[in-house]
């Protein structure tokens, strides 16, 4: 009897053990599968994102020509010291921030207005939406070249239109005072449709009965906008402001194609400075230091926006 029962016990524990080990085996197998699934992406991200990022930080402490890696020289914080004495760096930082501070609120406001305009039961709603969205899908290079022609001081469409309205011809991109504002105007026109789409999705998620109830209470359209629409959109607004800010800080293609940073450095931005220092003057160390500052700027913006979102 006893021997039988002990055999049974043994058999039971044995089966439990094998079950446990089969679960362990399964877990191990899942772990191996999981790792093999993420591995291609992780390897690529390490080589082409994480490594370059760490190199940017490291190169910032060196004097270095990209094409002559054998002549790399460690110089500590010299690049940063140089950078904070460089008038061109401050000018580029100023231009970047100027563009951002103007573009973000203006573009978001235009986008919200467009979204409110098409968020009605209109017959041609889709036509309007595509009209507002069409500059977004057109590439920035195309837009920039097109607008150089539109802004042409002598033979441009905009000056012709201004002339018809009795306004004197403007130099636009040719003048240090107007070049950045001209780029801002074009950028708002190009990208407002993108933010409009996000606002539109936000508007459509506001419950309809809120409007019905407020209409019963006698609220007019403007009051509804102020007391229902804007407060309900709060999170979407902060999100749109965040992504617009991060995109704005990266301003590159427009000044590269349209003005090459001129006239008088009035459109030179941080991204353009990185490009020129790094690839035209082959100052990879200095350009890396600018890259690090640029990255910190993006981080500060994102985190302060996130904090703003939580409050």
């Amino acid at each position: 009897m006893q021997s039988v029962s002990s055999q049974q016990v043994q058999a039971q524990t044995g089966s439990k053990k094998s079950k446990l080990s089969s679960i362990g085996l399964q877990k191990r197998r899942e772990s191996v599968t999981g790792i093999s699934f993420v591995l291609p992406a992780v390897i690529l991200l390490i080589i082409f994102l994480l490594l370059p990022f760490m190199l940017a930080v490291a190169f910032g402490f060196t004097k270095f020509n990209l094409l002559r890696p054998d002549q790399i020289k460690f110089i500590g914080f010299d690049n940063y010291v140089l950078l904070f004495q460089d008038k061109l760096f401050y000018k580029s930082l100023y231009n970047t921030l100027y563009f951002t501070i103007i573009v973000v609120p203006v573009q978001s406001a235009v986008a919200l207005m467009l979204a409110l305009l098409v968020n009605n039961r209109l017959k041609m709603r889709n036509v309007f939406r595509i009209a507002y969205f069409s500059p977004v899908i057109t590439s920035m290079t195309v837009i920039a070249i097109l607008w150089i022609s539109l802004y042409n001081p002598n033979e441009g469409l905009i000056n012709s239109a201004l002339h018809a309205l009795g306004i004197p011809k403007q130099p636009f991109l040719r003048s240090a005072d107007q070049a950045m504002n001209s780029i801002i105007f074009m950028s708002v026109w190009q990208a407002a449709g993108y933010q409009m789409m996000i606002f539109l999705a936000g508007l459509q998620s506001i419950p309809k009965d809120l409007y019905e109830a407020s209409a019963m209470d006698g609220a007019n359209r403007l009051q509804q906008l102020k007391y229902i629409t804007i407060p309900s959109l709060y999170n979407v607004i902060v999100f749109v402001l965040t992504i617009t800010t991060i995109q704005a800080v990266k301003l590159f293609t427009q000044p590269y194609v349209m003005t090459n940073g001129g006239p008088e450095n009035s459109t030179r931005t941080l991204a353009l400075l990185i490009y020129q220092q790094g690839f035209q003057f082959r100052n990879a160390g200095y350009a890396s230091a600018v890259s690090v500052i640029f990255f910190l700027l993006v981080v500060i913006i994102s985190f302060s926006m996130k904090k703003f979102l939580k409050d």
Binding site: E30, T33, G34, I35, F37, V38, A41, V42, L44, F48, L49, P52, F53, F59, L66, P69, L117, N120, L122, M124, F128, A131, Y132, S134, P135, I137, T138, S139, M140, T141, V142, I145, L146, I148, H163, W189, M197, I198, A201, G202, V236, F239, V240, V249, K250, F252, T253, V257, A271, I274, Y275, G278, F279, A284, S288, S291, F294, F295, V298, S302
Partner: protein, 276 residues
């Protein structure tokens, strides 16, 4: 009564604003179809937006001056390869992060979310250094490989796969299906929308690539269409009709793709917007 006034107001505003939005692109298309001298004589009147004399002359001449079809092919080729290989690599990674448990998973997920913040501009130089060290400059590899894995795509895939019920995957596993087979036979067919969305977002963003192709392509053979039109713009003698023809031509493929897959592209934009 008041409602009707508001409706009329909204219609009128929409019409005015959408006309303002469309004028630059309309002028581009119309001018590309006009003889060069007429573009400027029409400039002072509404005729600048109307195709008074239609000719394909600008297109023919521009295509003789630069290899537009070659640029178009180059762009379509490398952007498609990035998009397609990206779907494979990123969806697998997103799936593992959503549905499989393995060592280091949370570290990888956190790292991928953190890396989303790194702007391309801040790593462009060391990336060039890496690509140059691999001797990839002026090869397709330089244009394609660095952009296959994409934190943002991985994250979108993960968010989508999280919603697939575990029971479905478990029952497949009990039936003896390997994880790879489960992924291909069950997960992929369920996930058409997210694959399309990620592809089109990736495609449209790389279609506009400008900074990187300038750096890694030295000859004409690999140049993409954005670089092609930029070079053409600086190539004297400047004929605006021909420039507008190349700009219009460059925009056509992306408009076609957009019209075909509009729903998914807009979904991609709005889903990222709402989730925050």
């Amino acid at each position: 009564m008041a409602d009707r006034k508001i409706t009329i107001f909204i219609y009128a505003s929409n019409i005015i604003v959408s006309v303002l939005f469309i004028i630059p692109l309309l002028w581009m298309i119309v001018s590309s179809l006009k003889p060069e001298n007429q573009i400027f004589t029409d400039l002072d009147s509404i005729k600048s937006l109307l195709p008074t004399t239609i000719t394909l002359d600008n297109y023919i001449k521009a295509f003789h001056r630069i290899p537009m079809m070659k640029y178009l092919f180059n762009s379509l080729f490398y952007v498609s390869i990035i998009g397609i290989s990206g779907l494979g690599v990123n969806s697998l990674c997103g799936y593992a992060l959503a549905k499989l448990s393995f060592k280091g998973k949370s570290v990888i997920l956190t790292a991928i979310i953190a890396l989303m913040i790194v702007p391309f501009e801040s790593i462009v130089m060391p990336l060039y250094f890496v690509v140059n060290s691999l001797s990839w400059v002026n090869t397709w590899l330089a244009l394609i490989v660095p952009f296959i894995a994409n934190c943002f795509s991985i994250f979108m895939f993960r968010q989508f796969f999280m919603d697939i019920p575990n029971e479905l995957l478990e029952s497949a596993a009990i039936d003896g299906s390997s994880p790879m087979k489960t992924f291909i036979k069950i997960v992929v067919p369920l996930s058409g929308p997210v694959f399309t969305t990620v592809f089109i977002l990736d495609f449209i963003s790389h279609w506009g690539d400008f900074m990187w192709p300038i750096l890694v392509t030295t000859g004409e053979s690999l140049r993409n269409i954005q670089l092609g039109i930029q070079t053409f713009f600086t190539l004297p003698p400047i004929f605006y009709g021909q420039i507008m023809a190349t700009l219009t031509f460059t925009t056509l493929p992306i408009v076609l793709i957009f019209l075909l897959l509009q729903k998914y592209y807009v979904q991609g934009i709005t889903s990222t917007g709402i989730k925050g």
